[in-house]
């Protein structure tokens, strides 16, 4: 028996549309669930006071500091490395074996799970280089982790700069580096910043790579070699060890809001960038 195309068409729309709807409902449910339970806990006081009794009561101030400083170290290191790499790949070489190897390397790096970065950061930065569990070791580990994202987004942004811009610059007698510095980087800047923002978002939410490299001390760090706890690690410990459901929800809400803010501003920037282009 053959079903009439009109019915397969209707069936397809219902099933495909249903799948899309379900995905959106799940997304909205997760965000609403966490915010609904967490927002009543989350307040100025919660953000700015110290945790008491391992986080059973009190606030999350030290973890807020950790959450700001760790991604900051990561982007300070990874941004110049990533941007220069993408400048080299897109402006200074043709497709050769070397660029293929670099690209394969960054693609591989992008697919490595965060627990492996955690293992690596632990054995390399924490043990071999003797940094101990510290902001520095955690930041460096995150830097390696976000490098592929920054390289890829910067490369896309640089490639999106029209060829004519380069030609005009060269015709004025500018060198390659002058062209990169004065023409290409300024025009690619919003795209590069978008990549950096997405990387910050990923760093804020990261747990597995951070817990083994930055440790989980609840004291306020006073130097880069101090151990620190980020909001994600704090949330993980609160939830997993059943320390306090209430504070876990509060921390989760803070975490979600931070990540959403960072990502939404990244999208906003990218859209502005695209509409300026066209």
């Amino acid at each position: 028996m053959r079903i009439h195309p009109r019915y397969t068409q209707r069936g397809a729309v219902v099933i495909l549309g249903g799948a899309t709807l379900l995905t959106l409902v799940i997304l909205i449910f997760i965000i609403v669930f966490i915010l609904e339970k967490g927002l009543p806990v989350l307040g100025w006081n919660f953000l700015t006071s110290n945790p008491e009794d391992m986080g059973r009561s009190g606030g999350i101030f030290p973890t807020l500091i950790g959450t700001i400083i760790l991604p900051l170290i990561a982007i300070i290191i990874a941004t110049p490395l990533g941007v220069f790499t993408s400048v080299y790949l897109s402006e200074y070489t043709k497709e050769t074996r070397a660029t293929k190897i670099i690209r394969f390397g960054t693609d591989c790096l992008a697919g490595i799970p965060s627990i492996i970065f955690g293992l690596f950061g632990y054995i390399f930065f924490v043990i071999t280089l003797g940094m101990g569990w510290s902001l520095l070791a955690g930041g460096l580990t995150l830097a390696v982790m976000i490098l592929p994202t920054i390289i890829r987004t910067s490369e896309e942004a640089i490639r999106a700069v029209p060829k004519s811009y380069r030609e005009v610059s060269f015709s004025l007698g500018a060198s390659s580096w002058q062209t990169v510095k004065k023409v290409i980087l300024p025009n690619a800047l919003p795209g590069i910043v978008t990549g950096v923002m997405l990387s910050i978002g990923r760093s804020i939410g990261e747990t597995a790579a951070v817990i083994f490299t930055a440790g989980s001390s609840l004291r306020i760090p006073t130097s880069l070699l101090d151990s620190a706890r980020t909001m994600s690690v704090h949330f993980y410990i609160l939830a997993r060890e059943g320390i306090s459901a209430e504070n876990a929800y509060g921390t989760a809400a803070a975490l979600i809001i931070a990540v959403l803010l960072v990502n939404l501003s990244a999208y906003w920037l990218m859209n502005r960038f695209i509409s300026k282009r066209s």
Binding site: A12, P113, I115, I211, A252, V262
Partner: protein, 285 residues
């Protein structure tokens, strides 16, 4: 002088580019260096295919974790791949472009939600539902599969949409001209033409699922055993590393790094497969 400057800049840029690559080499080197000697000393067969994981007795068989990782990943595929691919087809073929341009980034936001939050939702919402309806501890293979299935949705949807949109409009027009409906066009023309991209999206999702750690630790239950039903508690390779790393020393720690080696090899194979699938698509264009 200026010429020299240019050359120096080129050198510096080249060195940075390769230092990015050296990050990968360092990771491989240190993980292998810590894990491989253990594997050879302990015996590959014994390490991979023995079910005895008793670190305090010096027994390190990761077979149950390998089986658990495979099941959890397969489960995530069963949940996430159809949902993701259907969603991608609907958004790219049945949704007005401006609407799609809003929904796609919204779904990509799913990827930004930290994995610990997914785990938490699994513990607070999903596990009780499973416990009440199907019995068992709730924290189980099934719970982990569903949570991971949701987590891979953005990867699958986003890459599938890109590859479906890359199918030339003229293919669709040719099909419509023959009197085909949208669905006939979709499944006979568009999906066929974007197949390798869709497969790549699923393989990349697979890589994400097998490498996910924190969410799995929270929802899978973590007991070392070979699951008989989806309701059993399981421990994956990643969970094994993360759970014991904080206190492991000596042989035990090396065994965890060796677990990392197994994971790394699986992931690199998966990613190479995905990039082959993506490249095949580009060659065809």
């Amino acid at each position: 002088m200026k010429l020299f400057g240019e050359k120096a800049v080129r050198r510096i840029l080249m060195v940075t580019a390769f230092s990015a690559l050296s990050g990968l080499l360092l990771i491989a080197l240190f993980i292998l260096n810590e894990g491989l000697p253990f594997i050879f000393k302990y015996g590959i067969k014994e390490f991979l295919f023995s079910s005895d994981w008793y670190p305090h007795l010096g027994k390190f068989g990761i077979y149950p974790m390998i089986v658990a990782s495979l099941w959890v990943t397969l489960g995530a595929m069963i949940v996430g791949a159809p949902l993701g691919v259907f969603g991608a087809i609907f958004l790219s073929e049945y949704t007005p472009r401006p609407v799609m341009k809003i929904i796609k980034p919204t779904i990509e936001l799913l990827a930004a939600i930290p994995s610990v939050v997914y785990g938490f939702i699994g513990v607070m919402v999903l596990a009780p539902i499973i416990r009440a309806n199907f019995g068992g501890p709730g924290l189980s293979l099934l719970a982990a599969s569903i949570i991971l299935g949701i987590m891979i949705l953005p990867t699958v949807i986003s890459i599938s949409i890109d590859s479906i949109l890359a199918v030339p409009q003229s293919y669709r027009e040719g099909s419509y001209a023959l009197g085909a409906t949208t669905w006939q066009t979709t499944h006979m023309v568009t999906i066929k033409a974007s197949k390798s991209g869709i497969i790549a999206s699923i393989i990349l999702g697979l890589g994400r699922a097998i490498g996910e750690t924190m969410a799995v630790i929270m929802v899978a239950g973590n007991s070392v055993n070979i699951p008989n039903t989806p309701l059993d508690s399981v421990r994956t390779l990643t969970a094994n590393i993360a759970l014991e790393m904080s206190y492991a020393t000596g042989m035990h720690r090396q065994a965890l790094f060796a677990t990392g080696v197994v994971l790394l090899i699986v992931i690199i194979i998966l990613n190479s497969l995905a990039s082959v699938a993506i490249r095949k698509r580009m060659v065809k264009r």
